[in-house]
Symmetry: C2
Subunit: 133 residues, 2 copies
DNA sequence: CTGACTGCAAACGTTTTGCACGGTA
DNA sequence: TACCGTGCAAAACGTTTGCAGTCAG
């Protein structure tokens, strides 16, 4: 019984082999589209259904076990929930990477300017990554 | 021949009544989903087709005449292109508002930390708006 | 007058649903 | 053993396409 088994159960999700492999695929690959996740899953479960993938993605989202990242001009990717962070998207190679940025100054300014009570920030910075520029 | 007629033509788009009304609806309503835009358009063009809406949205996006805003836990909204800005999303009433924020400090930090050449930022701040909090 | 645009219907890709079977706890 | 999860097939949904008729320039 590894870590993810426990975490899944804590979210009232049974630790099936399919779910453990989904979790593993997300852990190993970082940011994946549904399509890519399906391909990865097929390597281990040759008859897994897309419906199973979708059902589990939705359950894991509800449980806040994973998160969806909406990207400009690209399909959404999914990642395991971790420390709050922003994303860098390379517009050439499409790679997504995490970056921890302190946004307190920005949110404070926004909060003051608009009288808004901010609880969450979604930031995607697009451009060219180290390899592509 | 009003402003939008000229702007549409500058983007090689004919200024049809449908397009002028779409533009007007975006101008008057700020941030609208496809669904809402269709409803708004139906008031003026009772037999307009969703296909026309989609075709024009896509052409206007290509022409950078409008922009898509991807929101967390909500459908995308569309807006007329204007000065670079961020968005505030109220998680209670779902209203979206624009806010001009200086993000040079954040992008500089990200740029340095990850060796990334940043050309575009997409920021959505979620929380409670003035009325809802 | 001509090419671009519209509206309709059909096609398409993605996501969801219902159900019978199988597996976790 | 009881219930939850899986896989399959079908349905639902949002978006795109092809086409014939119409309109803007």
């Amino acid at each position: 019984m590894n870590d993810y088994t426990t975490i899944l159960r804590e979210h009232n999700l049974k630790a099936t082999p399919q779910r453990l492999e989904m979790t593993n695929a997300l852990f190993m690959n970082g940011h994946v589209t549904i399509e890519r996740l399906y391909e990865l899953m097929l390597k281990k479960f040759s008859s897994i259904s897309l419906a199973t993938i979708y059902k589990n993605i939705n359950l894991m989202l509800e449980a806040s076990f994973i998160e969806e990242v909406k990207l400009p001009n690209a399909k959404s990717v999914y990642e395991l929930t971790k420390e709050t962070h922003s994303h860098l998207l390379c517009s050439k190679c499409d790679k997504v990477q995490d970056i921890v940025l302190n946004l307190t100054d920005v949110t404070r300014r926004a909060s003051n300017a608009a009288n808004f009570n901010i609880s969450k920030t979604d930031l995607v910075l697009s451009g060219l990554c180290e390899n592509c520029s």
